[in-house]
Structures are given as structure tokens and as C-alpha cells.
């Protein structure tokens, strides 16, 4: 069964259309990266999926209408929307008590075991923790919930590199088990590329790219072309070209890898590079990917 099934999903705030006719199917057991520039409609789409906002069009999450059947849905769905949204007055021990009290699928021992690996004290209040520790605590709470869908909306924004890395490593090693589905948005695309199974680019409320990582790797290729081959390489219709240390790197979509090998080493481009190629041009200035 598809975990998320959207047909013509649309959401407008007054005259501003945040999500403009999105068709998306996410199968169970996938890790989907939802990538887009600021204001692309990522958060709005996720809010619709989480039943936080009404929407137009068809949307089913785990077979339920997220807006009308939200209460039922939240037993199987969990999310981290933004960093540091844990209430600042709460003690770490209270957060464990509370989630254990209200969530039937919460495994307290699991959360405790995860916290034991951190330097977070039970008696601390959230306001006394660093931003990275708050993210760890939130992840500990969420990972101990046996949810079928986990949505992460910029869960590591503003954290340093070490916290970000351990966040995603923990998620992949201790949580993901191929039956759960994870949807994640982040601006640090390169850091999650290796954990994704699928990638979706969204811009201006529309889906620009929707591929599994296998397809992504098969389609896109990047070659650092020798100057003398540049004209020949350009004839194959690269979708993007950039210069690094005076040499040109050309990005191709759907061109036979064997043909490209004639110009130099062929490698799989990063999601960030493809993102810039597909979306960066539309925005006059380069968008932080």
C-alpha cells in the first residue's frame, strides 16, 4: 500500500498559491528527500500530509484523509517540524513521562537507552540544553514511537555538523527498518543524499523532479571535460555547466554513460548539483541548496 498518495494537491493562502497541483506517491519503506528553495511549498505540503492544514485535491496518508481523520492518523504518524519546538519549561524526565502517558506506541526503554548515549541529564529543563541536545532529545522521543510514517521538516536547522551527522546516522541505524517510511526536508542536501531512497524537487508549489535514487543515478551524470573536448561534449546537450579550477563540469540528463566516458571521468552528481541545474536557473541567483 502507498504510504502517501496525493492527486492534484493544492493549497492557497489568499492569492498566494503555496502548493499548486502536486501528484505524489510514496510507497512504504522509502526514505524520501523533499528538496526545494525557501518558499517552494515544502512545509505546506508536509503540513497537509500531517493534517495541520486543510487542502484541496486528493490526499491519503496511510489510507486516511489527514485533515478529517487526523486524530486517528497521529497514532501511526509522528513528526519533527522545525528544530527546538520542545517546550522550554519542560524537564527531560517530564517529556518522557508525558509521551509515555499520551502515546500508546511509545517504548520508554528505547528512549532512555538512546538518551543514555548522550550527555543529556534527566533533571535538566529543555531551556538549559543546547540546540543540538534539544534535537537529540526530540529524536529520542520520536524514535521510541513505533510510527509507520515519520516526517522531518528541517530537523537539523542550525545544528553544527557533528550533531547533524549523528542525527541522520542514528535515524538510519536505529530507527529505519524498511517497513517505516520517512519523509525529510533539509537544506543540507549533500548530508542526506546517502540515506535517501527517493528524491523529489519542489519549486513554486510544483514538483520539478521525482525519482528514486537508483533512477537518479542512472539518469544523471557529471563529467569534468577537457578543454579540447568541450565543444563535442556540449553537442550532447548538457543541462548545466559550471567551471571549477578553470575546467568545465558538465551535467547530463539521460545521456549514455559510455558516450560520456570519452570526455573524462563520469560520476554521479550530487543532489545539490542537479538541484542547482534544474532550479537554480529559474531563480536569478543561486539558491542555497
Amino acid at each position: 500500500m502507498a504510504c502517501i498518495e496525493a492527486r492534484g494537491l493544492r493549497k492557497a493562502y489568499g492569492a498566494t498559491v503555496a502548493v499548486d497541483g502536486v501528484d505524489l506517491t510514496v510507497q512504504e519503506g522509502r526514505i524520501l528527500g523533499l528538496i526545494g528553495p525557501n518558499g517552494a511549498g515544502k512545509s505546506t505540503a508536509l503540513n497537509a500530509i500531517l493534517g495541520l492544514t486543510p487542502f484541496q485535491g486528493e490526499l491519503k496518508v496511510l489510507g486516511l484523509d489527514p485533515w478529517r481523520q487526523r486524530d486517528e492518523l497521529m497514532r501511526d504518524v509522528c513528526f519533527i517540524a522545525d528544530v527546538a519546538v520542545l517546550p522550554r519549561w519542560m524537564k527531560v524526565s517530564q517529556s518522557l513521562d508525558y509521551v509515555a502517558g499520551v502515546h500508546p506506541r511509545f517504548d520508554r526503554a528505547k528512549a532512555e537507552a538512546f538518551l543514555a548515549k548522550t550527555s543529556i541529564k534527566r533533571t535538566s529543563r529543555v531551556r538549559e540544553l543546547s540546540k543540538g541536545m534539544v534535537a537529540q532529545l526530540h529524536l529520542a522521543l520520536v524514535m521510541a514511537i513505533d510510527a509507520r510514517l515519520l516526517v522531518l521538516d528541517e530537523p537539523t536547522l542550525g545544528l553544527d555538523l557533528l550533531y547533524r551527522k549523528s542525527f541522520y546516522d542514528t535515524l538510519l541505524n536505529d530507527y529505519f527498518d524498511h517497513s517505516r517510511t520517512i519523509v525529510v526536508t533539509t537544506h543540507q542536501v549533500e548530508e542526506i543524499q546517502h540515506i535517501l531512497t527517493d528524491v523529489v524537487f519542489i519549486d513554486g508549489g510544483r514538483i520539478v523532479l521525482n525519482r528514486s535514487m537508483d533512477e537518479f543515478e542512472a539518469h544523471y551524470a557529471e563529467v569534468m571535460v577537457r578543454p579540447e573536448d568541450l565543444a563535442a561534449a556540449r553537442a550532447l546537450g548538457p543541462i548545466h555547466e559550471r567551471a571549477v579550477f578553470g575546467r568545465s563540469i558538465l551535467l547530463f540528463d539521460g545521456v549514455d554513460h559510455a558516450k560520456l566516458a570519452a570526455f573524462g571521468d563520469v560520476r554521479t552528481p550530487s543532489i545539490a548539483d542537479v538541484f542547482v541545474a534544474l532550479i537554480g536557473g529559474a531563480h536569478a541567483q543561486g539558491v542555497a541548496a
Binding site: 500531517l50 495541520l52 492544514t53 486543510p54 487526523r70 486524530d71 497521529m74 497514532r75 509522528c78 513528526f79 519533527i80 517540524a81 522545525d82 519546538v85 520542545l86 517546550p87 522550554r88 519549561w89 519542560m90 524537564k91 517530564q94 513521562d97 508525558y98 509521551v99 509515555a100 502517558g101 499520551v102 502515546h103 500508546p104 506506541r105 526530540h138 520520536v142
Partner: protein
């Protein structure tokens, strides 16, 4: 045989899941309420502080009171009224504190979580907006009155014990004290008074919760401005003060609605004046409850649809 052995391990986790999944429906409500008290410790700390101040004042002044009592020993009726005054004043001081704290609680209850964005955490838990708002409404409607009753009762008990210690050596018999300080009768009056005042204020709690769920900032101002605006407009447009009178009735009329007027000029309402038939037969009471319920429904809807601020 194979199908049977295959079926057994499958059915066990299923059975376990079905017994574990439906937790008692009160459990999330209980923990949601606990969480309100964790966040809003003023709900019980403020009445306790006032209680401590009241007791301190009483200890300091206990000498005057007993001498007053002895002076007017001749008229037992008058004496009872005089001795009841400190008890009543203690009850009123603590009660007013509790209601003020409850009002501020309501103003913040659905606003603070949007301001600090923690609503995104609360909403990631399987607690519906309806349950959340009902739990929050139960704080002024249930939790605060219970806290107030416990604190006031304890304070009055301590006051009684202290007066007894002061008076008994001067030859007053304990039995006399007991009849003169009718603490248990007073607590029945107290419980009834707290219950009726709380219900009488239902539309006010509801209004404060709606404003809390609606306002982007300064819920305190938004709670006050509309009623003040209506009063001013009415005054200038029609030269009348019906709405002001109506509001005054709502704020100060709770005791009138709950206790019958026996014409006595006692400082304390007493047992004989308890009049549930009058209270629950009053259209004002039921009207207030209906309006309060309407406000709560609006607060649920707002919590569902409003974005964090």
C-alpha cells in the same frame, strides 16, 4: 499442520497489539492535565503564597481577635459573626487569587504554545484539539476550584487550631469553640460557593480561551479591548450603560445567583442561604454555560486551523 503452526506465531503479536493499543481513554487526558500543572505552577503556588500571608497575618493578629471575642461574649449571634470574619476574609483572599491566576492561565493556555512553537510538538502527539482544549478548560473549571478548596480548608483548620490554643487556657470549652467556629458547615458553603462561582464564570473562561487561541500577540489586551469598546460605543451612541451593567452582573453577580438573600447582614453567607434551586433554575446560569460552551467550540476550531505565531 503447517498452516496451524504458521498461524500461531502470527496470531500472538496480533493479540498483543490489540490488547496494548487501546489504552484507557482517560490516560492521555490525565497526562495532558499533569503537563498543564508542570507548566503552570502558579496555579497552586499563588494560592499557597496568599495562604501563607493570611496565616502570618492571623498569627500576628490572633491576640486582638480573641480579646474582641471576649468583649462581645454577651451576644452569641454577634460573636459568631465577628469570629467568622477572619475565616471569610482568608477564603475570599485565596479565592480571588485563584480566579485571577486561572484567568491568566486561560489567556496563555492556547497562546504560549503558538508563540514558542511548541504546538508543533503537542500536535505531533495523538491528542486531538478537542481533548487538548477540554483539558485546558478543566483547569479553571475543575482543578483550580479543587486546589482552592483544599488550600482554604487547610488554612481555616490551622486558624481554628491556633485560636483554640489561644482561647482554651482562658477557660473556653472546646465544645463551645466548635459550635462558635462552624468550620465544617463553612466548608460546605465554601464548596458550594466555589462550584457556583466557577460555573458562573464559565463564559469568561471560554472568552479568555478563545482570545488565547485567536490573538497573534497581546492576548491580555485583546481580551479587554472588545468589551471596553462595546461599553464606550454604547455610551457615546446611545448614552446608556446596558452592556457595562451586564458585564458587571457577570463579574460580580455569582453570589447573588447562588445564595438566597435572607436579609441578614452577616459578613459570611451561611448554610441556610445555600440555594441550588435558585442557581440551577437561573436562566443567567444556563445562558452563561451555553455561551461558555460556544466559546470552547470556537477555541477548538481555532486551535485546529491557526498557524503558530
Amino acid at each position: 499442520m503447517n498452516t496451524l503452526t504458521d498461524a500461531v506465531p502470527d496470531s500472538i503479536p496480533q493479540a498483543r497489539a490489540s490488547t496494548a493499543a487501546p489504552t484507557a481513554p482517560v490516560r492521555p487526558l490525565y497526562w495532558s492535565l499533569r503537563r498543564e500543572l508542570w507548566e503552570n505552577r502558579a496555579l497552586y503556588i499563588a494560592p499557597l503564597i496568599v495562604a501563607a500571608l493570611v496565616l502570618f497575618g492571623f498569627f500576628v493578629g490572633v491576640g486582638h481577635i480573641t480579646s474582641d471575642v471576649n468583649r462581645i461574649q454577651i451576644d452569641p449571634d454577634k460573636r459568631q459573626a465577628v469570629t467568622a470574619i477572619p475565616y471569610a476574609m482568608a477564603a475570599i483572599a485565596i479565592m480571588v487569587t485563584g480566579f485571577v491566576v486561572a484567568a491568566f492561565y486561560c489567556l496563555g493556555a492556547l497562546h504560549n504554545e503558538r508563540r514558542d512553537r511548541s504546538i508543533l510538538f503537542w500536535k505531533s502527539m495523538p491528542v486531538s484539539d478537542l481533548k487538548t482544549v477540554l483539558v485546558k478548560a478543566s483547569v479553571p473549571l475543575l482543578v483550580v476550584p479543587v486546589i482552592l478548596f483544599a488550600v482554604i480548608f487547610a488554612v481555616q483548620l490551622v486558624m481554628l487550631a491556633v485560636s483554640a490554643m489561644v482561647l482554651l487556657p482562658s477557660g473556653v470549652r472546646f465544645a463551645t469553640l466548635w459550635t462558635q467556629w462552624p468550620i465544617f458547615r463553612m466548608s460546605v458553603v465554601l464548596a458550594y460557593g466555589l462550584m457556583t462561582e466557577t460555573l458562573w464564570y464559565a463564559p469568561i473562561w471560554g472568552w479568555l480561551l478563545v482570545v488565547s487561541a485567536w490573538a497573534r500577540r497581546a492576548p491580555f489586551l485583546w481580551a479587554l479591548l472588545p468589551p471596553i469598546g462595546v461599553i464606550i460605543i454604547e455610551l457615546f451612541a446611545f448614552g446608556s450603560g446596558h452592556f457595562a451593567h451586564f458585564l458587571g452582573q457577570r463579574l460580580g453577580g455569582g453570589l447573588d445567583a447562588a445564595f438566597s438573600d435572607t436579609g441578614s447582614h452577616q459578613a459570611m453567607v451561611d448554610m441556610a442561604q445555600i440555594d441550588p434551586a435558585r442557581f440551577f433554575g437561573s436562566l443567567d446560569v444556563w445562558g452563561g454555560l451555553v455561551v461558555g460552551a460556544g466559546f470552547l467550540a470556537a477555541a477548538v476550531w481555532l486551535r485546529r486551523t491557526r498557524d503558530p505565531v
